[in-house]
């Protein structure tokens, strides 16, 4: 049994995202005038062994808080899937 954590790390709302702004301008240039904002973050996939969902959730949260996100400037959220091959 194992889990796959799909982790999304994004800049916090009060943090300027110049890369996202540049991409928004690019989309406008392409004619996507409806775009009002682009925010660019980071996507991580982390595979972890074990069968205890609560323990895995706790571990992934700790990983995000300690290393994967800098909570001074970034938010994180994740989905935890039991891996199909191990069911």
């Amino acid at each position: 049994m194992a889990f796959l954590a799909r982790i999304y790390v994004t800049p916090r709302a009060d943090v300027l995202d110049p890369q996202g702004n540049a991409v928004a301008h690019g989309l406008h240039s392409l004619g996507f005038g409806e775009v009002t904002e682009v925010r660019i973050g980071r996507y991580l996939e982390v595979r972890i062994g074990g069968s205890d969902r609560a323990a895995a959730t706790e571990q992934v949260t700790a990983m995000c808080e300690r290393l994967l996100a800098n909570t001074v400037v970034e938010d994180f959220r994740f989905e935890l899937d039991a891996l199909a091959s191990d069911r």
Binding site: V15, L16, P18, L67, N70, V72, V73
Partner: protein, 239 residues
């Protein structure tokens, strides 16, 4: 005064820092490898510039977990001096030894040029020997130097006089955000609330000798040396 310069995989200003401490200022300075778990008995620990661990994830994010960092944190908790320059500043912020964070420069470019810095506080160990010099010139060289902290954090830092150096714009004023990299309140260098941990993005070690002061200053800019001397005096007077 004794000093240690931490060498991480990807440090590239470690030799410059050691040279300035040892050869220019006559300090008993040595390198400490990042895999060490203990520091030699020193007054000052310098975290030099570079690209430790290739800036993987975020600049300084991996380095903060280097084995030596626990000893550096303990050194800081004892009230002893820690000085992070450029990547060293990023590491101290990631480690929570300094408030805030350093983000990708606002204009996305790596910036490598001289900047003028306004000295905000002359009472700190880092800036006390700048004397009547309120403007210092030295180079920056970074891609992730945009200082950010939330509004409450900024208020607290300003209230406690923790902002030491700000970037000066061409019109001789400090911008709401720095033109060079987008830093909030023009912040280039700070200290912790206790006044013993310092971080700055510009490179004082690259402006500490007449020979390498840069052509823009007639080759005689030694402004960076003043900051090292401040720390040196502080360590000497604490003995």
């Amino acid at each position: 005064m004794k000093a240690a310069v931490v060498v991480l995989p990807g440090s590239n200003c470690d030799h410059d820092c050691l040279h300035v401490l040892r050869d220019v200022l006559g300090v008993d300075a040595r390198f400490v490898w990042h895999k060490e778990r203990e520091l030699p008995p020193v007054d000052l620990v310098v975290l030099p510039g570079g690209f430790s661990y290739g800036d993987a994830l975020r600049a300084g994010a991996i380095a903060r977990f280097a084995p030596i960092m626990e000893a550096v944190a303990a050194h800081a908790r004892r009230g002893a001096l820690v000085f992070g320059i450029c990547n060293g500043f990023q590491i101290l912020a990631e480690a929570g030894l300094l408030p805030g964070a350093l983000l990708r420069n606002r204009d996305q470019h790596f910036v490598c040029q001289d900047v003028r810095l306004q000295v905000e506080h002359v009472e700190s160990a880092l800036t006390r020997t700048t004397g009547g010099r309120h403007i210092l010139t030295m180079p920056v060289a970074h891609g992730e130097g945009r200082y950010h902290i939330d509004a409450e954090g900024l208020r607290r830092m300003e209230g406690q006089g923790q902002v030491l150096l700000r970037y000066l714009e061409d019109d001789d004023r400090v911008g709401e955000v720095a033109g060079i990299n987008g830093s909030l309140a023009g912040i280039a260098g700070i200290m912790n609330a206790e006044g013993n941990v310092f971080g700055m993005m510009p490179h004082p070690e690259r402006a500490a000798e007449p020979l390498v002061g840069g052509p823009a200053h007639g080759g005689s800019n030694t402004d960076g040396r003043l900051l090292f001397e401040g720390l040196l005096h502080d360590a000497e007077s604490a003995r």
